[in-house]
């Protein structure tokens, strides 16, 4: 790939407006529709059963209704033979043996006994703890990154990187909210992995901007940013493509359990790539980054000499 010369930074307003609209839509959807939280966070019971033949969901629903599990949601999971039953925390019934009661109930009406593929029960306290831990993980990783980049680079860069990352997370969550996909523990893990990935991309570009600030004394900040984004563009696209390749394989072949996990990362890689090109650097520019902010070459030079 030849080095491109696209005026990314000059057209930053288009990207910023586009992202601004995306953010507003995402936050709006998160506020109105919210996220469909999985039982990991809300507590409740989830039962996955398999049948030899396609299962009749209406019959299952009616049975559960008649047996007093009116709040159960019944849906296919992956194939027509697999059924996922979700129950909220139940009033007046011990939650620990809810699952066996449900199984008993559905086996009454179906010709063929259901084979249990998995049962998950999360108590309310554990759900709260997991949600709290998840929130703390998001918070601490953001703070950790803010600190690390501020230390390695400069606070304007670090703020720009965090804004770009928050953008990726919010937009991905927004998409999750719009599509009504379930948000569980593995999805949270994927969101954190996406933070790592998105930053990775941003750092590579920042690194080049820093290098070019020191090399090209007679160019404006905007020009230097443009050059840096352009020379790293082929790398940015290449890496995103390899990651998308493995994620696509995980999405199509990895099975239903890992589906939402791969969706988050697929969205995330897409937005992460976009934001490191279109958001991270313009943000640092808006915050007033200049060559003087990064002029500490003595120590840096010594470090580079020691590398292999």
């Amino acid at each position: 790939m030849k080095t491109t010369n696209i005026n990314f930074i000059g057209n930053r307003n288009i990207a910023l407006i586009f992202s601004g609209v995306l953010m507003i839509l995402s936050i709006g959807s998160l506020a109105v529709r919210g996220l469909q939280m999985g039982i990991d966070f809300t507590g409740g019971t989830l039962i996955e059963v398999g049948y030899q033949k396609a299962a009749d969901l209406t019959v299952l629903r009616n049975t559960l209704d008649a047996e007093g599990f009116g709040d159960a949601t019944v849906q296919n999971f992956g194939t027509a033979k697999d059924v996922l039953i979700r129950l909220k925390l139940h009033e007046g019934l011990s939650s620990a043996d809810l699952s066996s009661k449900v199984l008993e109930a559905i086996n009454k009406t179906t010709a063929e006994p259901a084979s249990v593929r998995r049962v998950e029960f999360v108590g309310p306290q554990v759900g709260d703890d997991l949600a709290e831990d998840g929130f703390l993980a998001l918070l601490y990783s953001t703070v950790g990154i803010l600190g690390y980049i501020a230390w390695r680079f400069e606070w304007k860069f670090s703020t720009g990187a965090v804004i770009a990352t928050v953008h990726d997370v919010v937009v991905t969550l927004g998409l999750f909210s719009v599509l009504g996909l379930e948000f569980d523990l593995t999805v949270l893990a994927a969101v954190l992995a996406l933070i790592g990935y998105s930053l990775n991309d941003t750092i590579v570009i920042y690194d080049r901007i820093r290098e070019n600030f020191r090399l090209m004394r007679n160019k404006t900040t905007e020009e230097i940013m443009n050059i840096s984004v352009n020379v790293t563009l082929s790398r940015t696209i290449m890496t995103s493509l390899t990651v998308i390749l493995v994620l696509a394989s995980l999405f199509f072949l990895g099975g239903e359990v890992i589906h939402n996990f791969s969706i988050v990362l697929l969205f995330g890689v897409f937005f992460g790539t976009y934001s490191s090109i279109f958001i991270a650097s313009p943000m640092a520019l808006l915050l007033g980054i200049s060559a003087e902010d990064l002029m500490i070459p003595v120590k840096e030079g010594a470090e580079i000499d020691r590398t292999p």
Binding site: V119, Q125, D133, D207, L253, T307
Partner: protein
Amino acid sequence: MQNHFPLWKNLLVLIVFGIGIIYSLPNLYGDDPSVQVSSTQSAKIAQEQANQIKSEIEASGVTVKAFEFNDGRILARFSNTDDQLKVDDLLRDKMGSNYTVALNLAPTTPPWLRALGANAMYLGLDLRGGVHFLLEVDMDAAARQAEDRYNDDLRLALRGANMRYQSVTKNNGFIKITLKSAADKPALLTLLDKDFRTLDITEPEAQDQVWLKVSEKEVREIKKFAVSQNMTTLRNRVNELGVAEPVIQQQGDNRIMVQLPGVQDTTRAKEILGTTATLEYRLVDTEHDVRQAVEGHVPVNSRLYYERNGNPILLDRRVIVTGDQIVDASSGQDEDGRPSVNISLNGVGAAKMAKTTQVSVGKPMAVVFIEYKVDTRMVNGQKVRHKEKVEKVINVATIQGVFSKRFQTTGLDSPQEARNLSLLLRAGALAAPVDIVEERTVGPSLGQDNIDKGMLSFVVGFALVVLFMAVYYKLFGMIANFALAFNVVIVVAILSMLQATLTLPGIAGIILTVGMSVDANVLIFERIKEELRNGNTPQSAIFIGYEKAFATILDSHFTNLVVAVVLFAFGTGSVKGFAVTLIIGILSSMFTAITGTRMVINWVYGNRRVEKLSI
């Protein structure tokens, strides 16, 4: 000299590669479905016994793939799960309660690898099937029980010291002692100082009273003890259940994680783990009228109980023997074929039982079955922990003669209940009730499904990346692919060395690592291309490309690492597994993608004139 590695660097890479291959190798061998037999007593299984078991299995018509007898433990391997289950049933019936018969998946790692300490990764429950429980220990109950104990001990001590008291009562977390005369107070304080240092003393206005409170430090100790005692008990119970490789770990202050691979009957597992069942033996109070007690006038030294059929009965307040004095219990049948539990008591219990029965021949004695049931219910949208102490008199029998150490208890509903009760009595009581706050069960078919799907997506993802790199970067791409394979080998080797648990998110982590670890190479190669465009010679382009890319790789990978570490710190269970693979993958990819590829590139291009790079 540019682009030449010193010998030690080449050797380092090759040695790491070699070690990586050896330690990742065990994962290529599969598992044998097998049955494991071990003794629960201190006496181990003897050689003859093992031979006999072997011939019995063979007599049943099942082909044994291998029969291993090692260190008093029998491991019989089979070629399919049908045979395994058949033999499991056979042995369970044969061996009785002194042996643990458990299903297992025995790795087929060859002996020479095992001798090197190379073992396969441990498969998580989502891959092999099984059940995961998170149990919460009821700390308040533990503290309350301790308070009860102190209450009883204080009465005993006061009586022992001939100190006359009006009352010893529990009130709002305090134990209040009211003496008959205020003159005894100094003596009481001396006694407390000597024998009850774990209690904080408050002296109220009333001169004849002393208020006591279990000290903060002691409460902490009690709670700590409750958790560790519960873990021991749970371990015993799990052993009784017959699970090959159970995991029992403390999590946080008051939670215990129990993982039972291969267990499918979760109802029974829950019953056994969660219940706090024990027995108490008490004399029946024949002097007072039960009807009056039902109306609310319970005599001071008696307590009102109910029998299984609902009939009220008055029992003596003092307990003869409690469950923790039971050293052994086994289920069986009495002469009439009713289910029964045979009890053996320890020395203290036996002496007490002998003393009581000596003076009470002809009087009725009752057996009280006590069970704590804890569950969380939703009441009006509020989460309410509901605790229930179920006490039932299961048997009332007239004492026919003096007995002490061994005797039989009947009155149980079914042989199953007799078996469960004897198991629970053997394993010991839980120091505090537990509540199941999380449960995850994975059926074996789903486990295998997850492995297959995980492997397939790994292979396809890997192949796509390899193809892509080879097409785009030609020879350099091929070298990067070698580094990529090297990276996977190292990740698997390290996970195996750590004996980490591989979960489905863990596999996803490895797959993600494949996609991301070529990033370092992409960075380097793009830089080399750039240097070539800037007019550098191929040799110096390689040199400068690696050098300049290094700082970038360090920075970008390190941020990734920060996030992975946070994920590890806050993740639980399978999410932790994902974080571990990510961390190892990031670190090892820096080694393989930088040093590993450089070695090969130096071999190919180093020390000679190069006109053009295949990049």
